[in-house]
């Protein structure tokens, strides 16, 4: 993030925010590369699993450019938060409850409980996605940030509640 770039957008980003932009872009790139790396083996299992990984890799890679180019954009930040949360949620669901969709395209089909074990790359990727979310929250305006943080809190409480009630195994 350079002063010149932000001047074009008539904003100045203070020095303490710059690391958040770098972090969001860098972590998103890490997650993208991991998804790209893992795509072929998932493609072997079912083309749609592989496609999910490729799409995730593309979106996360493209997001690096978006956040670097428009660090102040609420739309970019909110899209990044939503997208990364979705991918992280897929990881959690597939490692605790099972794949929600299988080759028969039926929700809750016999593939629903095809459980995966957590592995290093998956955990690193998820940690990177959570890091991206944190960094993007930091980039939001005060009013948006407050709302988003409270929504994240609610989601967090909901997930733990599902776990403690046994709905999420």
């Amino acid at each position: 993030m350079t002063a010149k770039a932000v001047t074009r957008n008539q904003e100045v980003i203070s020095r303490d925010v710059r690391p958040a932009v770098y972090a969001a872009a860098g972590l998103s790139l890490i997650a993208a590369l991991i998804h790209l790396w893992a795509a072929p083996e998932h493609l072997e299992v079912w083309w749609a699993y592989g496609a999910f990984f490729l799409v995730a890799a593309f979106c996360q890679g493209f997001f690096c450019f978006l956040i670097a180019r428009w660090p102040e954009s609420k739309i970019v930040s909110l899209a990044g938060i939503t997208g990364n949360l979705f991918i992280a949620a897929m990881y959690v669901v597939s490692r605790t409850w099972g794949m929600p969709l299988g080759p028969d395209w039926v929700l809750f089909s016999p593939y629903v409980a095809h459980l995966e074990d957590p592995e290093i790359l998956g955990m690193v990727s998820t940690a990177a996605e959570i890091g991206v979310v944190f960094a993007l929250v930091k980039l939001l305006d005060d009013a948006y940030r407050k709302v988003v943080i409270n929504v994240l809190l609610l989601l967090g409480v909901l997930v733990w509640a599902l776990r403690f009630t046994g709905i999420l195994p």
Binding site: R95, P110, A113, V137, L139
Partner: protein, 541 residues
């Protein structure tokens, strides 16, 4: 010009960490729970001593109704707590047919059909965090496709399904066990397995042991936790090898025997372990029957190999021993099993008295040529074959596959993909190839009985020259089998009977007499033709 001054407070970070923590911790927590359960295994040094408990014989299930043509049975799959281990260990949670493991034995007469209502009352979420759907396979029966326990024809917890069994095949030892897609190993391991016998007049007229001298033996290996529960550890889908041997659900039991012949219907119901069975006295056992019924002739063997799902009917003559003798059935071990000292013993026979009944105490030279059964493979010759197929069992890209295909490929094809399409009543030779030196795969072909033609070009072992439905594909072995495909038409599975391999995902299908048929036009479609129903709307049998 806007100045963006942004800082996240400690409170903000705490709020967000509720979700971030969940994303990172929950998968790890699930794995940790699994690992904790595995680490809680009873050490070998603390396992119960063998031969402390008596053998029990599973009860024979009575029909709930009989008509002029058909017998009706009801079985409920449910969770139960059973005292399996002696000596202060806790009760074991099992999933059993009627809460028993093995479940009750069903005894049928040839050509008298039966309807068995299987009710799934298993807990919705299992011990291993999966949905406990089931699909009951009567292994060894030429059932119609919709009653064959097709893996994807599932009965959810809270549902039931009526299975129609024709019982048209000659006398044999069958077994019923779970076959639900991706969780067969777990359900069978938890206890969903039992024997089912078809008798006929010819078999009952033979002077071989009958009645109380005709004894089912269901052999399994288990891993136990300190609290008495089973531990399911399939070592990354490679195999499950327990250090406790159960026979009819009892650990290394003893059986009191008289000085006469006994017929044992031995079923290897283990998930991944094969056995090489022998008597510690070194004396012969006589193999009189196989998966598909009686052998043409008896074969005396000092030991024999039994893979998962194989059945051998074996006669042991205890008249050779003195009262007071104790004879142990040993497992001599086989390559590529995880061996423990404790699995060298299976059970013990204690000779306690003279024979109280000397009838049916011999073995005729000719047992059964099954010439009256048109689908017997025993008379088939290679020259009759008009088709062939190749089945290669191989690990590929981290998956267990057959010809590089998996059951997921079958699902993805909307259940159309097949590895073979024999015509109805066509005789075919199938070549089963295990190119690996590190794994063995007992391959089960549904619907049919086959005869083993050769192993790596050499004659089959003497003890396996009878009608079979499972063939032990040992390391680097190529086996050719011959069969007549029938008497039913439709789609049937072929898979490895290492149930962990089957679940992940060494299973494909073939289609008899209906190549390329649209499932929706098939009156015997294995999934659509007879769907499971809700228990809440259960009909009278």
């Amino acid at each position: 010009m806007n100045l963006i001054q942004k800082k996240l407070s400690r409170k903000d970070m705490l709020k967000m960490s509720a979700l971030g923590g969940a994303a990172l911790m929950l998968p790890l927590e699930r794995t940790a729970r699994t690992q904790l359960a595995i680490s809680n295994r009873i050490p070998e040094s603390q396992l119960p001593q063998p031969f402390q408990v008596p053998l029990t014989i599973p009860p024979i299930l009575k029909p709930v109704k009989s008509t002029a043509t058909t017998d009706y049975y009801r079985l409920t799959m449910r969770q139960a707590e059973l005292q399996i281990l002696p000596g202060g260990f806790g009760k074991t949670t099992v999933y059993g047919y009627n809460g028993l493991t093995p479940g009750p034995t069903l005894k049928m007469m040839q050509n008298r059909p039966a309807v068995v209502r299987h009710i799934n009352r298993l807990p919705r979420n299992s011990f291993n965090n999966y949905r406990t759907w089931t699909s009951v396979h009567l292994h060894g029966s030429a059932s119609l496709p919709q009653y064959d326990g097709y893996a994807s024809d599932i009965t959810q917890p809270g549902q039931y399904k009526d299975y129609h069994y024709p019982n048209i095949q000659p006398a044999r030892t069958l077994w019923y066990h779970d076959h639900g897609v991706h969780h067969t190993a777990e359900n069978a391991y938890m206890g969903c397995a039992a024997q089912y016998h078809i008798h006929n007049k010819r078999e009952l007229s033979l002077p071989i042991p009958h009645g109380r001298y005709d004894v089912p033996l269901v052999i399994q290996d288990k891993i136990f936790a300190q609290n008495g529960d089973f531990i399911f550890d399939d070592q990354g889908h490679s195999g499950l090898f327990g250090d406790v041997i159960l026979v009819n659900g009892r650990p290394w039991p003893t059986m009191k025997v008289e000085r006469r012949k006994y017929r044992f219907r031995i079923l290897n119901a283990s998930i991944s372990r094969s056995y090489n069975l022998a008597l510690d006295s070194g004396e012969d056992m006589v193999v009189i029957g196989h998966d598909g019924g009686l052998a043409p002739h008896p074969v005396a063997v000092s030991d024999f190999r039994i893979g998962m799902a194989e059945r051998y009917e074996v006669v042991v003559d205890f008249a050779r021993y003195k009262i007071g003798d104790k004879i142990t059935l040993k497992n001599l071990g086989l390559p590529n099993n995880v061996e423990f000292e404790s699995v060298a013993n299976i059970m013990r026979f204690d000779v306690v008295g003279e024979a109280t009944d000397r009838r049916n105490n011999s073995i005729p030279d000719v047992l059964d040529n099954a010439g009256y059964w048109p689908y017997s493979p025993m008379g088939l010759k290679e020259t009759q074959a008009t088709g062939s197929a190749k089945i290669e069992v191989i690990r590929k890209n981290g998956l267990w596959t057959i010809n590089g295909q998996t059951w997921e490929d079958v699902i993805e094809s909307k259940y159309l993909r097949t590895v073979a399409n024999p015509k109805l009543n066509e005789v075919q030779v199938w070549e089963i190839n295990n190119p690996s030196g590190g794994w063995f795969h007992p391959v089960h072909i549904h619907l049919i009985d086959f005869k083993i033609l050769d192993r790596n070009g050499k004659p089959p072992h003497p003890y396996e020259r009878g009608p079979k439905d499972v063939v032990y594909a040992g390391e680097n072995e190529k086996i050719r089998v011959i069969a007549r495909f029938g008497p039913q038409k439709g789609r049937y599975m072929v898979h490895c009977h290492n149930l962990v391999h089957e679940d992940h995902d060494m299973m494909v299908q073939f289609n008899v007499g209906k190549a390329n048929a649209n499932p929706e036009d098939d009156p015997n479609d294995p999934i659509l033709a007879a769907k499971a129903r809700s228990i809440r709307r259960m009909r009278r049998l």
